[in-house]
Point group: C2
Chain length 362, copies 2
Amino acid sequence: MTPARPDSRDRPTLETIARQLGVSRATVSNAYNRPDQLSGALRERVLAAAAELGYPGPDPAARGLRRGRVGAVGVLICDQLSYAFTDPAAVVTLDGLASALEGEGTGLLLLPGVEGGGPSPDLVRSAVVDGFVSYGLAADDPGLAAARARSLPLVLVDHPARRGEVSVTVDDAGGARAVGELLLALGHRHIAAVSFELGLDRRSGPADSARVAASTFVAPRERLVALARPFERAGAGAASFPIWECAHNGRHDGREGATALLAGNPRPTAIVALSDELALGALDAAADAGLDVPGDLSVTGFDDTPAAVLARPPLTTVRQPLHRKGEVAGRRLLDLVAGRRPARVRRLPTELVARGSTGPPR
Amino acid sequence: MTPARPDSRDRPTLETIARQLGVSRATVSNAYNRPDQLSGALRERVLAAAAELGYPGPDPAARGLRRGRVGAVGVLICDQLSYAFTDPAAVVTLDGLASALEGEGTGLLLLPGVEGGGPSPDLVRSAVVDGFVSYGLAADDPGLAAARARSLPLVLVDHPARRGEVSVTVDDAGGARAVGELLLALGHRHIAAVSFELGLDRRSGPADSARVAASTFVAPRERLVALARPFERAGAGAASFPIWECAHNGRHDGREGATALLAGNPRPTAIVALSDELALGALDAAADAGLDVPGDLSVTGFDDTPAAVLARPPLTTVRQPLHRKGEVAGRRLLDLVAGRRPARVRRLPTELVARGSTGPPR
DNA sequence: CCGGAGTTCTGAATCGATACAGACAACGCT
DNA sequence: AGCGTTGTCTGTATCGATTCAGAACTCCGG
């Protein structure tokens, strides 16, 4: 007895078409996948029969099983979609990823995270994909662990690789150091930072250096550490480098954080934001407080998203090749899936872009 | 002879574990899927052996083939990711969709479009999914046609259904009419509109009523038509209702469009934007021109995205339940996939939210 | 000690395709 | 005529799991 069909409507299959035409299944398959394996005339007949019977082409799941490749990669992202995509940097990076994949006819299976973390391990375990890209997850995220357990190709974006893993990162430290040096050179001595999440616990408030050091989110940690270095050398100690941690990487959060920092004593003359979104929020906060930028307050961002140059004043920021980063990650993953062995780690350069939001303090 | 394995590393399978333990494949499968079908002790042994051999659990592609369900839905979106996700409305809607799906352990396979249209038919044909959601595509998009050809469950968001199709829309016309009536009641007689794409051709410039009528993008067409109705009744004819079409739905585009409209003669005293993003751009344009909002110019948006209330002045806009819309679409699709028959069409209400960006003309 | 009721586990068909190794015919060449 | 090529098409093993019908075993009351 045949077991009950999961879906009892019987869709046409290769066999349906083959029988209709009195040819073999292989021939029908070839009509779709290897036109050179059969005569043009027969191929036309097959395609015509398929159209007539409403056969939509070979079933992707079956083909995937047989070929060992399904034409999709899983993208592990932090937070729910609405949070993750608030950040234009994420959107641009993902766009780069998509553009690298789509040339190869590969789709993106989005695996959104839960509040404050990556996707659920179950979702990862059941994802029908050829590989994974993890974007900005904490190094110890359970979803990431599940992805590793699948032992499929994996590319890590924006956090460091374990032995044998492939990663794409940017020179966060170099960019941050450049910002620190610029502000010092301009004469700033009271500098504060607005950071996005440092931990999975969605905390919002001042962050001390212990919290920074303990963070499993690598990008903000590296940036903050590198930023502080020039200050320390210049004798401006950690005490004079307050950090505000925002629960989300959003403009609104940046505004709140900057407002809090501006209430400090001494009031900072420069605010370093770890993303452009946060920096835009800092600009809002400055406007709220009636402060002129850059006269009363210098503000810097990070990423150089499209909005940075459109801000008023245009934002001094650290450009990172966001689109490129996604593209490179996509190509690396395709290489792995195809059995090629790409270079293990790739660190893309960053570049300080000085615009109108920075200047010497009064 | 066995054909060459697509991937020659031999991963463990159910069989590997079964052999190791001297049990049948069925038993191992049951250990994962039906714990009640075998003794706890044996189940533990199976899971332990799996862990030891590095078996990551049943292969999702094979399971998908057998079960007839793969646990993913394809989302057809217009434009590349970086354009599509510039629109916070899209992000929030997708987030709603994701939240409805993730409860059922279902992922989102993103099928990004190409410049000015939906995803390529090939991508759609080869997507390993249980169904599709189409979001804001043109009614005649080829990618959408490919999705229909798959004859999988399909839910259309923001455009009307053919016979027998399931759709989720909002009361665009009602919202637009409310905006028109508000502005008329305030005393405006020179009203202009900034629209997003009306066609696949990425045009940017003035749009006449023929172009509006011919648009296959349903949401903007309905809004513009409904908007004009009260004006016509009030005697303010079509001639006095200029429309500027933007190539993309972005803040920057809104700024350009509004700037162009403000150069018109007579200068409009109110600008209706078809999205909040465009409206934010219109606010920027007003600031550029030194115009006070709402004193010199009233501006309205559409969607009530999170940014609307944070704008300065806070934006008068038409609230649509974006998150809900995505959720409803997701639930409808899950119903279809499960073989239930949800209501065919669902039209969610819109609501005018009057805030600070509108007032009587000087 | 037998029959019936539970448990626990196995056998084998099946999902829908792909791809190799031929079979077969027609053809050109020496 | 004999032989190697080419060009088409088919047979069949296989991808890695799920699922149902029933086998084997245990337990129990009568």
